[in-house]
């Protein structure tokens, strides 16, 4: 089911910027628009469907408009034109009060530099959203404590943000968002300010939490590896235009533009692609191979995990097994080697 539907979204910064929309529709680019009209093109004709319960990553370099895009979903930034439909409601038409209610109940956001309140302790930070909703202290504190424990910050309730390391502060940010129990979690470069190791920890925490939570998550990043690791779907933005959208495998194996191609060139496919991503049906495999000697791998294993056995055992076929052990697909060594050769 589609949770968030973004339709023909334009954002142009500047005075009377709506007048420039026809120009952009006729194909005027970012530089020309700035030169001729003094308007800055933020987003141009973005159309995007975000599935319920999925992590939808929006990737792009700085200036690509990705942070602007995510801020449209809770309307921290107002669109110049276009619609954003969430659960059948066009949120671009909400008045102030309805918008605040929408923000209180549907969304929560995690920020790049955490956005914590320095004058509140950790518990008060985590319960900030509930405090805004005027939920009584007892309830909100017990909810807040649960989430503090879940992100591994037990015992830090009465500390202040400045006393915590960056990784710990972002755990607070995550707990603050989740304590609000939002349907949609907006994460704006949430892990970009963290050290590589801590960043990996946080990605793993998010993946682990998402297994139970099944929230709709919009995740902004400039890091392709992070996008490939987290994203059920990945959208690549360039200069305010949506360049390509698809699964990690689509993006890696079938880049549609030169920009995306250059981006994915250096990615280690063996570390990103899972057996289930590249397996084929039995019908695509020749009879000889099906009857030959096979190597069994799990659907969620990345190529790197079984490549050594392929090299040593030289099987005729790789059989992909589901969680309960039944074969759900096949992979020939030829195909595997083609995929790895790029």
């Amino acid at each position: 089911m589609i949770k968030i539907k973004i339709k023909n979204l334009y954002k142009i910064f500047g005075r009377n910027s709506e007048l420039s929309i026809p120009l952009v529709e006729q194909g005027m680019g970012k530089d020309e628009l700035l030169e001729k009209k003094g308007h800055v093109l933020g987003l141009s004709n973005i159309n995007m469907d975000i599935e319920e319960g999925e992590i939808h990553v929006v990737m792009g370099l700085s200036g690509s408009g990705k942070s602007t895009l995510i801020r449209h979903i809770n309307r921290l930034v107002e669109p110049t034109s276009g619609n954003i439909i969430i659960d059948d409601v066009d949120i671009t038409g909400l008045d102030k009060e309805a918008l605040n209610n929408f923000r209180k109940n549907k969304t929560a956001m995690v920020f790049q530099s955490f956005g914590l309140l320095p004058h509140y302790n950790i518990l008060d930070n985590v319960t900030f959203g509930l405090d805004i909703k005027k939920i009584d202290k007892l309830t909100s504190q017990s909810k807040g404590k649960q989430w503090i424990n879940k992100v591994g910050l037990e015992g830090y309730e009465s500390r202040f943000p400045q006393e915590l390391s960056g990784g710990m502060q972002q755990r607070v940010g995550l707990a603050r968002a989740l304590t609000n129990d939002p349907e949609i979690l907006l994460m704006d470069e949430a892990f970009s300010a963290l050290d590589p190791l801590i960043r990996k920890d946080m990605q793993d925490i998010l993946i682990a939490l998402q297994k139970d939570l099944k929230k709709t998550i919009v995740f902004i990043t400039h890091d392709l590896d992070e996008a490939l690791k987290l994203g059920d779907k990945i959208a690549i933005l360039k200069d305010g235009f949506l360049d390509q959208e698809g699964t990690a495998v689509d993006i890696l194996l079938n880049p549609e533009t030169d920009y995306v191609r250059r981006f994915v060139e250096d990615v280690n496919r063996g570390r990103v692609l899972k057996a289930k991503n590249i397996m084929q049906d039995a019908s695509a495999i020749s009879k000889d191979l099906l009857n030959g000697q096979s190597l069994k791998v799990k659907a969620d294993d990345v190529i790197e995990k079984f490549i050594d056995r392929v090299v040593v055992d030289k099987p005729d076929l790789i059989e992909v097994l589901s969680e309960n052990g039944s074969a759900i697909g096949y992979l020939s060594p030829d195909r595997l080697s083609k995929i790895l050769r790029k």
């Binding site: 605040n100 929560a108 956001m109 920020f111 009465s158 400045q162």
Partner: protein, 297 residues
């Protein structure tokens, strides 16, 4: 021929005379018809001022010194300041300036209260509305550069000589820093923190009370501190329009060339200025302790 360039061609003398007379008469007319209303309007201020002055004067001196010492210690945790406070007030008392000092303290306290009550809302308004900021900023600039003697004139014409006009002159002179720094403090709050508050659906009021004002507090306190210092400077000048206290003695010493009186009262003013400054500054720093981290248990 060259005369034109050597002497600036001023407007005709008659015109200037009529012009000035017109303004004066107009203002006199205004104060004649509204002066009484304005006085009634400021009557509660008069009450407050008299109440605080009486309170200060009727408080036995050991209790007064005790209270200020406790206040000083609570704000700064410094015994040095407490000793300074005791020495300063002993000096003031011994040289017979106790009552004058209490009157000056009273007017400083009241004018600071008024400046804060008017200034902080003004500063908040400026921070919310860029239009308000563009209008108020030049007015504040004007107020801060206009020689203070100049605004004594309309105040006296409106309200005559006495405590309340003096108080109003002091407030007008001292209010700009608290307005400016409230505005600045709120505008300086990290944008991502504001966005965070908004993303949780905070109303403008919740945003202001829970996020902006608490985070602007250190800056606001710097403004209050400067306002107090400016009030102390102005209270001396305001003695020319009937404010009693240490300033009046200074004024007397100027007109009569009493060096000793001038010096003693001057030193007393410096002493209370330092005490006010240290206490309000230390309090401002305590408000921002969370920023350093590690001080909370």
């Amino acid at each position: 021929m060259f005369d034109f360039f050597l002497t600036f061609p001023a407007l005709p003398r008659e015109f200037l005379r009529d012009f000035k007379r017109g303004i004066d008469n107009g203002f006199k007319e205004f104060s004649r018809s509204y002066g009484e209303n304005i006085e009634t309007f400021f009557y509660p201020l008069m009450k407050l001022l008299v109440f605080i002055e009486r309170l200060l004067i009727s408080t036995p001196w050991p209790i007064f010194i005790g209270i200020v010492s406790i206040l000083g210690y609570w704000a700064t945790r410094s015994l040095k300041l407490v000793i300074g406070i005791i020495i300063a007030f002993t000096f003031i008392g011994l040289f017979g300036m106790w009552e004058d000092t209490m009157e000056t303290t009273g007017i400083i306290v009241v004018s600071t209260i008024v400046a804060v009550l008017v200034g902080i809302p003004l500063g908040i308004w400026m921070s919310k509305s860029s239009r308000a900021q563009t209008v108020i900023t030049p007015i504040l600039d004007f107020m801060q550069t206009l020689p203070p003697f100049v605004y004594l004139v309309p105040v006296v014409m409106l309200l005559g000589i006495g405590k309340v006009p003096g108080l109003i002159a002091v407030v007008i002179y001292a209010i700009p820093p608290v307005v400016r720094l409230t505005n600045l403090g709120i505008r300086e709050v990290d944008n991502e923190i504001i966005e965070a508050a908004e993303s949780f659906g905070a109303t403008p009021r919740q945003k202001l009370l829970k996020v902006q004002i608490p985070l602007a507090m250190p800056t606001i306190f710097a403004g209050i501190n400067q306002t107090i210092m400016m009030a102390l400077a102005m209270v001396i000048i305001a003695s020319m329009i009937g404010v009693k206290g240490l300033g009046l003695e200074v004024l007397r010493s100027i007109s009569n060339q009493y060096l000793a009186i001038g010096l003693l009262n001057g030193i007393a003013i410096v002493a209370i200025a330092i005490i006010f400054d240290r206490i309000s500054q230390a309090y401002g720093k305590r408000v921002q302790e969370h920023r350093k981290g590690g001080n909370h248990k």
